[in-house]
Structures are given as structure tokens and as C-alpha cells.
Symmetry: C2
Subunit: 439 residues, 2 copies
């Protein structure tokens, strides 16, 4: 939980730095709200038993609940709604602990809703994504794969795919991150029924990835640019790359025409952050633009509240950081116990005196503990300091009490030279402890 809290705190700090407020939505949504939003994955939704009242299900992601919230509460005046949400979602999937795939898991979402000028919020979302992943100091490098739904759909149309086959072809293409092109090509012909030359033309495009130069190369193809969807997608990606230079994110972005993303609701740019190498966790964040989802939930397809967002895969990041932590390579400020001072008695138990000292420390905002025994053994008290890596001990015995002093000992320092610790008047204890903790 200490590692997890470190992740949450890092992410929250960045989300807030970008001006986002947080909202909370119930863990359950009306079953009908979730229906038809997740394609084939809808079978993974948990339903509540029918005990009377509305039929509810557990949320599958945080995007649909946010869109539902915007449909219920979004007013034109909220034209700059940035929100983040760190919350659990639920999927009746086969768990795989080491890959960070669970039935209950956290998602951390950052979304911007509202009518804005082209690509301005989109670029900031990618900036937030890069700042977040960089701040977490992952043990592996990553890329942000970038594509555009309209570019992809345009490519399929230009290649000769019929309009009503576009979504199905798209979900086959999405397998290119796990399967070689030859297999996908085979599936396009034999499962999706495409002609060989249509599949070949698709292959010409979706095997390309690169940077702004690739976009320029595509922009120079008259057949592609003649398709309005493709040309709109390319123009938007070029503007994104232009703004992205200001935010210093272009080195992380890899335009990848094979990225398709399974969910139905995306309408513009789509992206996925992927770790390098064979670490097994794969995608650690993903998102895109979904301009029609709020209108769909309002049953008013014309009343658009355009949205763009990203979802950080906390569990996968947790797997990576936990592994580092267990190998002793993580940030040393991540400790299990929050206790800063352990109050120890030598000789007699002195329970009320230990309580009194703890109270003085608490009142000064210092995290203090003591053993809940009336006559604890000295070695057992030392053992707690060791086990919980408590940095300081305040030690009292009858002698110290008689003289109105306490001893402070640095427990992280095994140097024998400090002997029985520093003896100082009781009245100076709190300031001495604060001083040592601030070093």
C-alpha cells in the first residue's frame, strides 16, 4: 500500500498541477448505461442481483461513468471541465497477478470535456501522460503510440474496404501488436473476406510508424488526402505534433498506423503508452478522443460535449515499481510504517509516562508510537524500531524522569559512538525531534 500510495500521490499531484478537479461516481451504474459501450468485452461486466429497484452493474471503466456524469450535469458554462478520478473498476476476467490483470483494479483517469479549439486539450493530455510516466521513474523506457480513428478509417476506405466492414477490419488490425503481419493478412482475407489486393494496400499503410516525417509523407499522397476522413486525421496529427514541440513530448511519440484500440467510442486521436522490452506488462496507459459518447448517453446525438482523456494503468505500473521496491531499488522514502519516533522505557514500564511523551509528540504533528504493554521488555522495543525502520527513539528510565531529561537516539545510525543517545531537557524534546527529522 505504501508503494501504491506513492503512485497515487505522484499522479494526483500532476493531475492537479494541470488544474483538474476530482469527481466521485458510484461504483454501480444502471445496467442499461453500460450496455453497448464495450464491444465484445461487455460479457465481462459484473451485475448486481435483482433485489428490487433498478438493475445495476459494477462500473467497467471510468470513462462511461464520466460521460454519464457530463450528460446529467454538464452545462455549457462548464466549458473547461478537467477532471481526474482514481477509483476501482470491475471486470469478470481471468486474473493474471504478475501482469497486473485483476478483477478489481484501480484506474486513474484524466479527462477534458468541452468545446475547444483543435488539438489544444489533446496536446495537454499527452503532456500530462508524459509528465506522469516520467515522474514515476519506471525501471523501463516507454513510447507513446499515436494514431487517429479518422485516419485509420480513411486508410481502410482508400484501400477498398466497404464502409460497413471498417469496424471489423479495425479490430483485426488491432492484433498487430501481438501477431505478425502475415497472420493478420491471412485473417483479413479469410475471416473478413477482403480481396488480396485490398489487404495488401492496408498492409502498405499499417506497417508504417515514425514521427512528423511520416505524417508529411502521408500528407503528400494525393489518393489518401482525397479522402476527407484521412486528410482531417493527418491535419490534426500534424497540429498535435506542432503543439507537442512546445511541451517537449515529441521524442516520446511514435505515430503508429497499426494502433486501432478496441473500444467503440473513440472518434479522434487514440494513443497507448507501451513499455520497451519483454517486461510482460505491455500497455501502461491508453486513451483517446470520444466526442459522441456524452450525446449518445443523452439520447441527443446532436448535443455534443467533446471529450478527450487518458487512463493510467496503475496496476501494471504497480507491478513494475513493486518489483523494484522488493529488490531494494525504489525511492527510500517509501516506508511501510509512518512512525517517526518510538517511545521506549528502560527498566520499569512507565506506561503513563510513555503515553505522556507520545501525546506531546502527536500534538506537535509528529508520528509517534510506543509498545502497548505496561512493562515491555527493552529488546522487544528495539526490535519494533528495527522491523518498522523507525528513524528515532525517545528513551526514558527512572533516572531520566528524576532529572527531567530524555534521551534521543538515531535508530538508523548503528554507529556505537552515539552510545546511549543524546540526553537533553524534557522541555527541549519536541524541537530536538523536529530538528532531527528535518535533516
Amino acid at each position: 500500500m505504501a508503494v501504491r500510495q506513492h503512485i497515487f500521490d505522484t499522479i494526483t499531484q500532476i493531475f492537479r498541477r494541470h488544474g483538474a478537479v476530482t469527481i466521485d461516481t458510484p461504483v454501480m451504474e444502471l445496467t442499461e448505461i453500460l450496455a453497448g459501450k464495450y464491444g465484445e468485452d461487455s460479457k465481462l461486466i459484473y451485475d448486481l442481483a435483482d433485489q428490487g429497484g433498478e438493475q445495476c452493474s459494477l462500473r467497467y471503466d471510468l470513462t462511461v461513468p464520466f460521460a454519464r456524469y457530463m450528460a446529467m450535469h454538464g452545462k455549457p458554462s462548464q466549458y473547461q471541465c478537467k477532471r481526474y478520478q482514481l477509483a476501482k473498476v470491475y471486470r469478470r476476467d481471468q486474473p493474471a497477478m504478475t501482469k497486473g490483470r485483476l478483477r478489481e483494479f484501480y484506474q486513474c483517469d484524466f479527462d477534458i470535456a468541452g468545446q475547444y479549439d483543435l488539438m489544444i486539450p489533446d496536446t495537454e493530455i499527452l503532456c500530462v501522460l508524459k509528465e506522469t510516466l516520467d515522474s514515476l521513474q519506471l525501471p523501463v523506457d516507454y513510447d507513446i503510440k499515436l494514431n487517429h480513428r479518422q485516419l485509420l478509417d480513411g486508410v481502410f476506405r482508400v484501400a477498398g474496404v466497404a464502409p460497413d466492414a471498417v469496424r471489423a477490419v479495425s479490430s483485426t488490425i488491432d492484433k498487430l501488436d501481438k501477431q505478425p503481419w502475415t497472420e493478420v493478412h491471412y485473417e483479413l482475407m479469410h475471416e473478413r473476406g477482403l480481396d488480396k489486393n485490398v489487404a495488401d494496400r492496408i498492409g502498405h499503410y499499417v506497417q508504417q510508424n515514425g514521427d512528423a516525417q511520416l505524417l508529411q509523407k502521408l500528407a503528400d499522397e494525393p489518393t489518401l488526402m482525397a479522402n476527407p476522413q484521412a486528410s482531417q486525421g493527418i491535419r490534426e496529427l500534424q497540429l498535435l505534433m506542432d503543439y507537442g514541440e512546445v511541451f517537449d513530448i515529441r521524442d516520446k511519440i511514435k505515430v503508429d498506423l497499426s494502433l486501432a484500440r478496441g473500444l467503440d467510442y473513440y472518434t479522434g486521436i487514440i494513443y497507448e503508452a507501451v513499455t520497451h522490452g519483454t517486461h510482460g506488462v505491455g500497455s501502461i496507459a491508453a486513451g483517446g478522443r470520444y466526442d459522441d459518447l456524452v450525446g449518445m448517453l443523452l439520447n441527443k446525438p446532436n448535443k455534443k460535449i467533446p471529450c478527450v482523456g487518458v487512463s493510467i494503468g496503475v496496476e501494471r505500473i504497480f507491478s513494475l515499481l513493486m518489483e523494484m521496491h522488493q529488490q531494494g531499488h525504489s525511492d527510500s522514502s517509501i516506508r511501510g510504517s509512518p512512525t517517526q519516533v518510538y517511545v521506549i522505557s528502560v527498566g520499569d514500564g512507565l506506561v503513563k509516562q510513555r503515553m505522556q511523551i507520545a501525546k506531546e509528540l502527536w500534538d506537535a504533528g509528529i508520528a509517534a508510537s510506543y509498545m502497548y504493554k505496561s512493562k515491555p521488555k527493552l529488546e522487544k522495543q528495539w526490535a519494533v524500531c528495527d522491523r518498522e525502520a523507525i528513524p528515532l527513539a525517545v528513551i526514558i528510565g527512572q533516572d531520566e524522569l528524576d532529572q527531567g531529561v530524555v534521551r534521543i537516539k538515531d535508530m538508523s545510525n548503528k554507529d556505537e559512538a552515539q552510545g546511549k543517545g543524546q540526553t537533553l531537557p524534557r522541555s527541549g524534546m519536541v524541537s530536538a525531534v523536529l530538528d532531527r527529522l528535518s535533516r
Copy 2:
């Protein structure tokens, strides 16, 4: 959410100051784990639909999941396990928004598990409770009602109640906070079937409340002290009052022999924090000692892991603080938007220049925003500052860009004297903003 976050932060800080770590448990538990733990309220448990696999329900509180966690993971070496948990629980109840009674709501629990010397952890729990409620600066005063299950059971036995009727009589007595004694007396005779003189003897005790003097008066009654349960209860309460003096909590504690608490699992002290007056929210925190619950979940009643804990009623506290906030009486640091600086352009849109300034501020850890328009109107930018109460604006126009300067304006200060704000070199912007924010 800003008010709610303020409550969570305040509570978490105090819990951690007392050395507690946090754990997380799933929102669903096996249905059989929750069965038989909540008396009559078990009908309020939400069940998940049977979609194959284990039959699960949504958690009803955080105490049973914690005890289940201890039963699964608690080892003798974890003899000082203090944990807190801030999480949602679920009850199929009739909601009452103004009273803070909802179907999904947060609980904040602090528990201490392990074999310790008598009343030492119990006293700290009450100290945590007092520190928490005091730190939240509620608009009303409160008392901590205190009783002891064994004292109460002893009282019933001494009054002449048969052993197997004790729990039923106890739940009737629990109504004394809402009903007058005459009604409860009537119910004891006509629904619980007690003789009038038995009911009268119960009334003699349960109408008493007071402080340490009351405990001494009870300790002086030979008939009561002859009952081993009653005398154990009184001895423990007296020790708690003795330790409580060190923690300065005695002025908040009101020993109240009518406090019974409905839940089945309490075995020692029980308590409830109650606001004064007719504010309608009533109990704002409650808890007690439950020594047998972990053993019960282990199916090994002899293997005890004694526990004591408190649950803070965040929703009711939220109702109180939100009301203050809406009346403008709350802590002024509670703001909706986290944005500290709004980056404004005068004249031309200068979108990339605004982005560049925001990036410099973000990199310095400052929360900055700007309007997502390529050519925003000046008055619309001012309006955002006003609406979101953003304290500072950084202003640029073509003149400022040409001269390599920016203007900083204090937006909370309507004093005309600051005119167009302070003009300063672009290179000094970040430190000037940090300086103004720290004032």
C-alpha cells in the same frame, strides 16, 4: 469533493500520526463471510448476481473485512497491527441525503489488533477519535458516550434477566437515545416479557450517566460487583479513565449505561460520538472492542486476535461541514479549482506562447491553466479567474513578448492601484510566482 478531500486529508494525517498503515480490501466479500454478523440489518446487504464462480456481496462495513483480512494474514509477529481504511461501504437502505444516510458511503476506520495490556490500545483509540473530531472543527460540540458490553450484560443479569434474553433486552435498551424511558419500560415488559420489578431494576441503572464518579459509585455497590462481568467492565472503564487523563480526553467522555450498540460482535468497551443539539445528524462516530470476531472467521474460536476500533461517520461530518462551507464559514483554503496561475493573452491569441509559459510553471510544480482557444477573448479569460477564484494571472501580449517580460497580477486583490500588474523579466517569472504564492 474539495470539502470531502479536506475531511479525508485531516483524518488520514491523524491516523498516520498514530502509526497506522493503510490496507485495501476488495469491495466484494464472499456472501458467507458477511452472514450472521449484522443482526437484523443483514437484509440490507447488496448481493452480486450469480454469473458463475463464488457468490459475493458488497461489503456492509469495514470491520468484518478487516477481521477477515486478519484471519487470513494475521501472524503472531504482527502483534502491533494498527490499520486505517478509507473506503466505501454499501447498504440497501432508504436514503436520507440531509442526514448523510446513503446507499453508498465512505467509512473511515482505525483499528488496533493484537494481544496487549488492558485498555492501552482502547485509550489510544479514544484519543484518536477526539483528535480527529477536534481537528475537523465541527460547527457543533460533541460528547463521546461510553459503555461496556460486559458491564451492561452484568447489569441485566443482576436485575434478573435470564442469560438467553440478554441480547434482546440489550437491543431494546439501545432505543433509549430516541425514546423516553416509559416507552422502553413498556416494551421491556410487554414485548420482552420482563417482570415489572426486573424492568424497574434495569431502569435504575440505564438512566444513569456521568463520569469517573459514577464508575466509583457503581464500584461501591456490592450486589453489582458480585457479578464477575459487571465488575470486570467497571474495572476496565476505571483504568480507561485513568489512562484517559494523560491523553486529556476525560472531559469529552460521558459514561452512559444506556448505550448498547446494535452489532453482535462487540465484547468490551463500546462508544459513540454524538453531536449536541438538534442538528439531526446524531452519531458521527462509533466503535468498540471485538475480541472474538477474527477467531469466529477462522472457525477457531480459541485462537483470538483481540481488536478495538472506531469508525468515523464521514458522510454526516460532510453534511455538517458542507453546510458551513455553503454559508461561507469554512476554512478558506478549501477551493474547488486547484489552479494557482491562469495564463492570459492580450490582443492576439499567442496560444503556443501561453503553452510555453504554462509548461515552465508546471515544471516548477505550480498549478497553471490557460484557455483552450487559439484566440480567446480577454474578458472570457478574466471570467475564468473570477469563477474559479484563481489567485494569480500571468499576462502576455505582443509588447511583453517583444520586450522579454511578463506581467503578474494578483487576482484576489481588486485594488485598482496595482493597475496592469507587476512587469518583470520573463526569466524571473517562476521565482516571482512562487514568492507570491508562498505569502
